[in-house]
Amino acid sequence: MSATLAPEVRSVDGRSADPASARRSPRRPHSPLRPRKSVAFTLLMSIFILYSLVPLAWLVINATKTQSGLFSSFGLWFDDEFVLFQNIWETLTYRDGIFLRWFGNTLLYVVLGAGGATLLATLAGYGLAKFRFAGRRAVFAVVLGAIAVPGTALAVPTFLLFSQLGLTNTPWAIIIPSLISPFGLYLIWVYAVDSVPTEILEAARMDGAGEFRTFFTISVRLLAPGIVTVLLFTVVATWNNYFLPLIMLSDPTWYPLTVGLNQWNAQATGVAAQPIYNLVITGSLLTILPIVIAFLGLQRFWQSGLSAGSVKQ
């Protein structure tokens, strides 16, 4: 849009008002709205785009092939037969529709796990940002430390703990560990410090609002972009959670999609192998769709969240 702006101004009276600027016009002026184009960076970005889009394209293309078509056709182009819908149907009905069951499980873990994690992170982050109490620094140190420990490292100790409690092989074994999101807590905390002015809270208290009312009617709205950001992170993390359910669950009826699809994939190995790569690929495509939709739907909150507070208003 901005690229056409300059010529339009000049064409008001049909000719250039300033000969000097007319001579300069082949050299495009650079401004924050129209930054200088760098060949190297464009090339680099193109490589990154290819890098991220080729696997997606591969997935979409190969979800349209039969099992034998996968073996006999070129990977990045379509086979003669187009069986996408048949593949989807087979994926949804294979082994009495276990895929739908896994889909439901994943949804359950995401709603309770990611939803709960966001709620807890919001409550705790806000509390730590806006209230002064003894031990705040200690909590801060613990949270920062917790961010540094990867979840994978905790999976086995968590398993042993849960098996003592008799919780392994139940949905709780996935949901409870998902409720903890130190990174989300930290994000809300940092965000709340700037985006919820203490003056507003004081005004609300003066008007007689209780702490909970202040939180839910005022602070939550101010925190919304931050909450959505945390929600996105936790949703993606729970949706893609693989290692924890792999260790915790041995009964396929409680598997999430990630572990279930890997089980289908592993079927192709060894004695009595039954490869169903077409279903694995179609299943993977179906698995990433909701997360793509969630991202597209939530990203506008996210963008406004990232820029909020960056400029003093």
């Binding site: 034998s68 996968l70 994978t152 003592q164 260790i247 041995s250 396929p252 079927q267 060894g270 004695v271």
Partner: protein
């Protein structure tokens, strides 16, 4: 896809060993179990009384077998759980044993992994229920695989005596005769790859199960176990015979680098770019169901040898065991007896394309004489049942073979990747296995 899978497996293996393999020996000390004192009569009584069992298996025939069992014994309720294919299941089983609860009553375990669970004292000695009397019913090599340290820790289900599966269409096209010795095999590899650089005699990127079976056939016995005393040595004559042959294929770049069991691998089997497979006798079922496009192309021949004397090794295959955590071990043992010795169960298993371990079936004229349509009418079972008689004896796996196999890629696999001497990779594997074994409380010599 395959890279992700390998990475995931590695993570799994590391995690499994990090915290859980410790449990292997810890379980030894708490082995004061309640089982024991059973008898064959107990099994019949248990079937009569009925009860509930959990059975972990990834075998495709398991579902139909359980259904047939429940029909025959309506008082028994068997819950079939597919807890994952091979290593995934072993990790979960090891987890459950370490945790003290959550293990199934009956579990599918491949032969190579059985010593690991047996020596961790996690499996019931089926001799206590008189199942050792079934010895005559099974081929000698599979029976040897389920007897660990003087105990009967499982009953064999399938077996995998190795044979050479080759693509006759490709062999004929380039005028290559079916090799009977490994020297001829290397020669065939050179000629095929020279004639068409897109074609390879076989694919091998370093697979522990394959390598150990090849060493087994060559007469190598790298692992020796006596209680907690273990010896690991790849410097014996047999191992060097195998590396002498295989080094030529690796160093001259005559092996396809397509990883086994990947989609590309199946593709290679279908289009002829992988022209042969030295592999277990269970392969026909896999070829028929998963490489259907190549029907008529494949044939089976005895595994090539070093000196012309027929000898082969077991590759893959496994059985089922009763876990000590079981609250009803007599019923579990009764189910297992039915599963792996009752003709009704074995018929279901054979129908699914499995290769039996039971001598009655291995000698059944109908089975032996079967003309396989997929193999162009060849009586493949004549070759395969002969192979099951030619399996060399005296082999044993490590009591931590699952871990050992998981680090094969990082050690011997490097020799494959660098087209370098396999003996160096094996030496590296050996030193890591010695170190790990000692850490686990075994006394490991070289």
């Amino acid at each position: 896809m395959t890279i992700a899978r390998t990475a995931a497996r590695r993570t799994l293996a590391v995690a499994a060993t990090a915290a859980l393999a410790v449990g292997a020996l810890a379980a030894c000390s708490t082995g004061a179990d309640a089982t024991g004192g059973g008898s064959p009569d107990d099994l019949d009584a248990a079937l009569e009384a009925g009860g509930e069992l959990t059975y972990w298996s990834w075998t495709p025939s398991a579902e139909a077998q359980v259904a047939a069992f429940e029909e025959a014994y309506p008082n028994v309720d068997v819950e079939l759980v597919n807890a994952g294919t091979n290593t995934e299941e072993y990790t979960k089983l090891q987890n459950a044993i370490k945790a003290g609860s959550g293990a199934p009553d009956v579990v599918q375990i491949e032969y190579y992994a059985m010593p690991q669970f047996a020596l961790a004292d996690a499996l019931v000695d089926l001799g206590e229920y008189g199942l050792d009397e079934l010895e005559d019913q099974y081929s000698a090599s599979t029976w040897g695989s389920v007897n660990v340290d003087g105990k009967l820790v499982g009953l064999p289900q399938d077996s995998g005596p190795m044979a050479l599966f080759y693509n006759k269409t490709v062999f004929d096209q380039y005028g290559i005769a079916v090799p009977t010795t490994w020297d001829e095999y290397v020669d065939a590899a050179r000629r095929l790859h020279a004639a068409d650089p897109t074609k390879y005699i076989t694919s091998d990127t370093g697979d522990a199960g394959f390598a150990t079976s090849m060493i087994w056939q060559a007469g190598g016995r790298p692992f020796e176990i006596d209680g907690t005393d273990v010896t690991v040595s790849f410097q014996d004559e047999g191992t060097e015979k195998w590396t002498g042959v295989w080094n030529q294929l690796v160093e001259e770049d005559l092996l396809s680098t397509t990883p086994g069991w990947s989609d590309e691998w199946f593709k290679g089997l279908a289009d002829g770019s992988i022209a042969s497979l030295p592999i277990g006798a269970w392969m026909p079922g896999v070829l028929e169901s998963s490489v259907a496009d190549a029907a008529g192309d494949w044939r089976v021949a005895p595994l090539p040898t070093y000196d012309g004397t027929a000898v082969t090794a077991e590759h893959g295959g496994g059985g089922q065991s009763v876990v000590k955590q079981s609250e009803n071990p007599a019923l579990a043992a009764a189910f297992l007896r039915w599963l792996n010795s009752d003709p009704a169960s074995i018929d279901v298993f054979l129908e699914s394309g499995g290769f039996p371990s039971t001598t009655a079936d291995l000698e059944d004229p109908e089975f032996v004489g079967l003309e396989s349509e997929y193999f162009g009418g060849q009586k493949i079972n004549e070759v395969l049942t002969q192979a099951s008689k030619d399996v060399a004896s005296g082999w044993s796996y490590l009591p931590y073979q699952v871990y050992a196999n998981s680090i094969f890629g990082d050690t011997v696999g490097q020799s494959y990747a660098n087209k370098a001497d396999l003996n160096e990779g094996l030496a590296d594997w050996q030193s890591q296995l010695v170190e790990y074994g000692n850490e686990q409380g075994f006394t490991v010599g070289e």
